[in-house]
């Protein structure tokens, strides 16, 4: 007897649509939370990816099963895109941190290179800039250092300079370890940059 003679009719299993819809709504809620968490938990904050299709008018309604699935899938796609974008940002920030370390170790090898807190993924508007000491003299003599700037426009202006810089040295240099200053003062970096011999 051939196996094909026995044909069991296919019967679709009963689906509890209400349970499926509830599960889809829960998935939508979880994806929305993850989407917002991915966008807001890094610096700078990432913009939420735009939807593939933008509806012009708000049309609140009870979504069908297919529409719920489509909403879930669209959110999952957006989350995937955002995660990839965040990974790219993280890689760029890691490269920036490595560059900063190398700048601090050898400022002369990174002349005029500037790294900001935004590049590093940190709050604030601090910037690290490899500049010559004493202006043109330092440039000709090969004396380079990393200058830390707060970036705040109020950082300049009349203010009593710290004791260590009253001998005539130029503006604040990273090599000087100062006492903790108000928030808008830049903080000294770790490694002092000694002037290089010409």
């Amino acid at each position: 007897m051939s196996v094909l003679e026995h044909r069991t009719p296919l019967v679709a299993p009963a689906v509890d649509e209400a349970a499926v819809r509830r599960t889809l709504r829960e998935q939508v809620a979880r994806l929305e939370r993850e989407l917002v968490a991915q966008a807001t938990s890094c610096l700078p904050h990432l913009p939420l990816p735009a939807a593939a299709t933008r509806s012009r008018a708000a049309a609140p309604r009870l979504l069908s099963l297919a529409e719920l699935e489509a909403a879930r899938d669209e959110l999952a796609g957006r989350l995937h895109d955002l995660t990839a974008q965040r990974r790219t940002h993280a890689d760029a920030q890691a490269r920036a941190r490595l560059l900063l370390e190398r700048m601090l170790l050898a400022p002369g090898d990174h002349r005029w290179v500037r790294v900001t807190n935004a590049d590093l993924g940190e709050p604030g508007c601090k910037a690290y800039h490899a500049r010559p000491r004493l202006g043109l003299v330092g440039m000709l003599a090969g004396w380079w250092h990393v200058k830390v700037s707060s970036g705040c426009p109020l950082a300049t202006g009349p203010r009593r300079r710290p004791r260590s810089s009253r001998s005539g040295e130029p503006e604040q240099a990273v090599a000087q370890a100062h006492a903790p200053d108000p928030a808008w003062w830049s903080q000294a970096a770790a490694a002092p940059a000694a002037p290089r011999a010409a």
Partner: protein, 222 residues
């Protein structure tokens, strides 16, 4: 909080949610409350409060708003009813974006400013209807095919079947989280208004009550 028909005028009243809507969103609630507006213009104290709120709000807070529990709950609900919250902002985000754009919470009218205070302090949306255009208690249901949105404007748009609306005994008065029917939105000169708010899954009822009471207390005290 009380069900419709309760005698205590100070308590928000619970609006009926249609069976099909309640089956899909069992935690969805509609609360409404009549209120009286003393005047058109905001008193100096309310204007000062708006200025204080303006000064306290920063861009970082605005960015972090969507990760807070109540705004997040409304964003999730938006997605579950087919609205993209990144295109059509939830009410508290819309208020915050307007503040960032304008540089301050601009005073408009006594009622509008009281609603702004309530929305900013609770993150719960509040709408105000002209009480003279409301017949009976408010309820949440789906619209029938080609049902007009409102009764005061002959050019009122027709609603497609299934659109979620806030309605009274005579018909839809507002699209849920959308436009209020033309002629039914409370105007600055209106003295009697009906406030309503919607609680979704993840929004505690006490927050909704606080939002409605904040509006009425602001209108009474100041």
């Amino acid at each position: 909080m009380s069900d419709a028909g309760d005698e205590d005028d100070d308590d928000p009243r619970r609006g009926e949610v249609a069976a099909d809507v309640a089956a899909e969103h069992p935690e969805l609630r509609l609360w409404w409350l009549p209120a009286r507006v003393p005047g058109r213009h905001s008193p100096p104290e309310l204007r000062g409060r708006l200025r204080s709120m303006s000064d306290r709000l920063r861009g970082a807070q605005a960015l972090a708003l969507r990760s807070q529990p109540i705004p997040h709950a409304y964003r999730v609900f938006y997605r579950q009813i087919g609205i993209d919250p990144d295109v059509h902002r939830i009410p508290v985000e819309a208020v915050v974006v307007e503040r960032l754009r304008a540089g301050e919470f601009k005073p408009y009218s006594f009622l509008q400013d009281a609603v702004t205070v309530a929305v900013m302090e609770t993150s719960v949306p509040v709408w105000a209807l002209d009480a003279t255009g409301v017949e009976g208690p408010l309820r949440l249901r789906t619209a029938r095919d080609r049902e007009p949105l409102g009764r005061r404007d002959p050019r009122a748009p027709w609603l497609p079947e299934g659109r979620l609306v806030v309605a009274d005994d005579a018909g839809p008065l507002a699209v849920l989280f959308g436009d209020v029917a033309p002629g039914h939105l409370a105007r600055p000169d209106d003295r009697d208004v009906v406030l309503f708010s919607v609680a979704v899954s993840g929004v505690p009822l006490v927050a909704v009550a606080e939002a409605l009471w904040t509006v009425t207390d602001t209108l009474q005290v100041l």
